[in-house]
Amino acid sequence: MAQIELQGITKKFGDVTALSDIDLTVRDNEFFVLFGPAGAGKTTLLKTIAGAEFPEQGLVKIDGQIMNHTESKDRNVSMVFENYALYPNLSVYDNIASPMRSKLYKRDEDYIRQSVDKVTNMMKINHLLERKPSQLSNGQRQRVALGRCLVRNPNVFLMDEPLAHLDAKLRHFMRGELKEMQTSINSTTIYVTHDYMEAMSLADRIAVLNHGRIIQTGTAQEMYYTPRNEFVACLFGEPEINILEARRQVNGADVYLTLPGQSVKLLPAEDTAAALREAETDNIHIGMRGNDISFAFEKNGDDWIEGSVYANEPIGNKVIMTVKVGDIKIAVTCPNDTAADMDQTVYIKFNMVNAIYFHGETQEFIIRNNMSRYTKDQQEG
């Protein structure tokens, strides 16, 4: 297993820049997740590490060795492609056996049989060994692709949305298997997904990509509690974090915030007040998660804000109530037996302790309370 480093990687396709000055270090034995919306460049990044794409600028290093001029076959990396890339004319068995039959990584047939059996048993596809890819469902093809990747012993596993087409139960099961396998065989894995729950549950560290750039790198905790900007904050969490446009008011020693059209004063937590006072703008965005908002059908105090019920969605173990306050809609997480009628009057109160503050114009993170609890040493990359 190995450490992967990317230094200043830029990759262009004609006029389109897919990756822009990427710096990344994946440590040995780390389960590293690349997270971001479609088109962010995650697949291109993976292919650049694999050697399938050649960067215009920058260096790719595996264990300190520059790999730019090394062909894919010699890099000893293993990859699951988003579109599976199975060999259409070979059976499932032959597909998975393929990496062990090349001159470079050749093994004898007994070893091959054992490995294929082990992997197909884990994937639960051992009854499909003789079939061709065209005779399989999407989920089965995905598992074959995973199998072909896992059957080797490479420097690093590169996985591009390997569980996307599996049903929820199987996905859950496979997540567990992957994580367990990773710890037991000490592999380095770089994993691409756009499912934030998968990212948070599997990752040692996450990198968020958008438009070919890395926005933030860190642990799941850091992403969730101290996102670098609103874009990152919105990626993690269900329901999506509420971004409230607020106005900062400074009145002598006091600092507080008000929502447009509302008189209620929102008091920031102790250790955030100083940073808010020093902020260069009065235009502050408050990031408030749905489960940090209390609701009641009667006004319980002066710091409760009046609104009306816009929507009420029960989703299993909780209910997401969308409350309309003035022109803005706020998502509130409620217990799963909450019932409400449309347009019913409801009152909400924000728990300012957990608020995340962003600069109104640049949308960058300013402060939240208790920051030291959530941030580790910011490692480079």
Binding site: F54, L59, I66, N68, H69, E71
Partner: protein, 307 residues
Amino acid sequence: MFGSKKNNEEINYNEIPAHIRRRPYYIIAPGLVILIGIMIPFITAIFLSFTNYSFRLPKWSFVGLRNWINMFTSKEFYHALSVTLRYGIFATAAEMLLGTGVALLLKKDTKYSRILKVLFTFPLMVAPAVAVLIWQLMTSNTVGVLEKVLNLIGVYNFPWAASHSTAMFTAIVIDAWVNTSFVILLVLAGIQSLPKSPFEAAAVDGASAWFTFKTLTFPMLKPFMYIALLFRLMAALQEFGIIYALTKGGPGDTLMNISLTGYINGFTYQKLASALPFLLVLWLLINKTAKFLVKRQRHLANQAAGK
């Protein structure tokens, strides 16, 4: 290249390694040799058309545009052009209409249709000269079976290729006999590749057969028909084998299309250089038409896929 292995800074890691950069050239090398070998005649033809090259004369020299001017001011050229266009358009039209019609008839899958589909490919296999042979066998005024059939309805000694008025007709019949199957197969392949759901929806909506054809079948078939049209028209405009085998361009000059004219002038009369402008004009005509049709076809195929 410079850059000893010791000094990493000398190697530019962002430059694609040489053997990968050169790979495309190795791949296309043999094909390129052949293609260039084919390009040379074209260039030579253009070059020679400005000379007075002839097999009779021991030496040749440049004569500028003389050959071209002679051609454009000759009756021969315009006659050849007329024959070329008439043959090309009528033969192609006949084949397209007949071919599409038969393909539509073959759409319904029955035992009969399956047998016929195989049998209909046979005429396509026949070389033009052989096709002419067969038809001459059938139409011979002395032993031909067609002649005997025509006798039954009171027509005797139908001249077929021997007379001015029927020669073009005869040539087109033979051309259609060989090549209609091409249109049939192509259109049939298109029909069989059409998605079922629009037709099912139309049936549910109670659409009539004509309506279904006009708004669904025909537009979706157009890309395939265009391919057929392209290949048949291009081939018919420059048809040589059938006409040569049939009458060598006769009777008189009835069937002297540009290809025939070029051949006769170039070889039989040995005036190579003066024959070339004819052929270059034909080439230009075909090239421009092909380009136009290919662009249209590409456009139509995208349209049909988007539907």
